[in-house]
């Protein structure tokens, strides 16, 4: 599993074997079952996770008790409740495994220390902030300019794995519509 993370760093950053070793050794393996919750609303988020296998989502619960999924991480992606992790303040989101998953987790304390010590950790931090920004930016755009049908079609196009592997319920909560509406969109295709 750590090999996978090493490869990821090698492919995505300008770095050295020493730095990679140092950073990777701060990650610990964690196996989670489907539906297992990693972080809950009200907690301070202590970990960031790298998905080696499986999938993990970040969601929150709105005033009507409905779940809304903000982000879904598949293999080779990081996931955390960004603001809570960075600022060490309570989060309003939940993080949950959507399939049986193999993860690598790093603690805030270790990560903070490594940011001071290695440029790789610093670069990772900046890149992840940027990725998170771009992801949300894109989602805002999609809500501003697309209908539910268009958002669904687009998701099939750019990230079919989400639709293939996750339940209708989760996909609907990610698209911002009800399950029933999603069921209908799939038919009227």
């Amino acid at each position: 599993m750590t090999e996978q993370l090493k490869t990821y760093f090698g492919n995505n950053f300008q770095t050295t074997p020493t730095e990679v070793e140092k950073l990777v050794s701060a990650f610990k393996e964690k196996s989670v079952k489907k539906n297992e919750t990693l972080i809950s609303k009200g907690e301070v988020c202590r970990y960031a996770y790298f998905v080696c296998k499986g999938s993990v989502r970040a969601y929150f619960i709105d005033d009507d008790g409905q779940e809304a999924t903000r982000y879904i991480a598949l293999e080779n992606q990081f996931i955390t409740t960004v603001h809570s992790f960075i600022a060490q303040t309570p989060t309003n989101e939940f993080i949950q495994a959507t399939e049986q998953s193999e993860l690598l987790q790093i603690s805030y304390t270790d990560f903070k220390k490594l940011i001071e010590e290695t440029t790789l950790a610093k670069d990772l931090y900046n890149k992840q902030l940027e990725v998170a920004y771009v992801t949300n930016h894109w989602r805002v755009e999609s809500f501003l300019k697309m209908s539910a049908k268009q958002r669904y079609d687009f998701l099939i196009e750019v990230n079919p794995a989400i639709i293939q592997r996750l339940s209708n319920k989760i996909v609907a909560s990610y698209l911002g519509i009800t399950q029933e509406s999603l069921s209908r969109l799939k038919v009227q295709k």
Copy 2:
């Protein structure tokens, strides 16, 4: 005008007068008329702007030719096309003054240099990325869990200036609805 930026840095960052002076002196004053365009789709974004007076928005044009407003900056806020500015790649957005405005602009070249030289510029960069992230994050949440009416009511609550100062057309494009729908929402209040 530079006084305003100095005050802003003093209030929001741990820094020294020397650093503030160095960073602020890289900004140049720019007066813009209402509706003046600062950056257009297809261009590489060379500047980030600090709004001293007035208001500026970032918007894009969807496939139907409709404008959709992603972000509105009022006094004492920064605005730029984040990804284009950071990565120096072409943007798909426009940046436009929504009122007669007094701005301070800094070039990418100068900013990049200052990030290496002063911790204030580095801190500003990180903080702006974080603010941008939180802003978009919040917008995603609002689309996932609120109706158009709820988004409007919420905007009145947290940022009434946007509704008071900007045209219906722009507010509607910011909420992701048509002008006509916005007109109706205001009545059925």
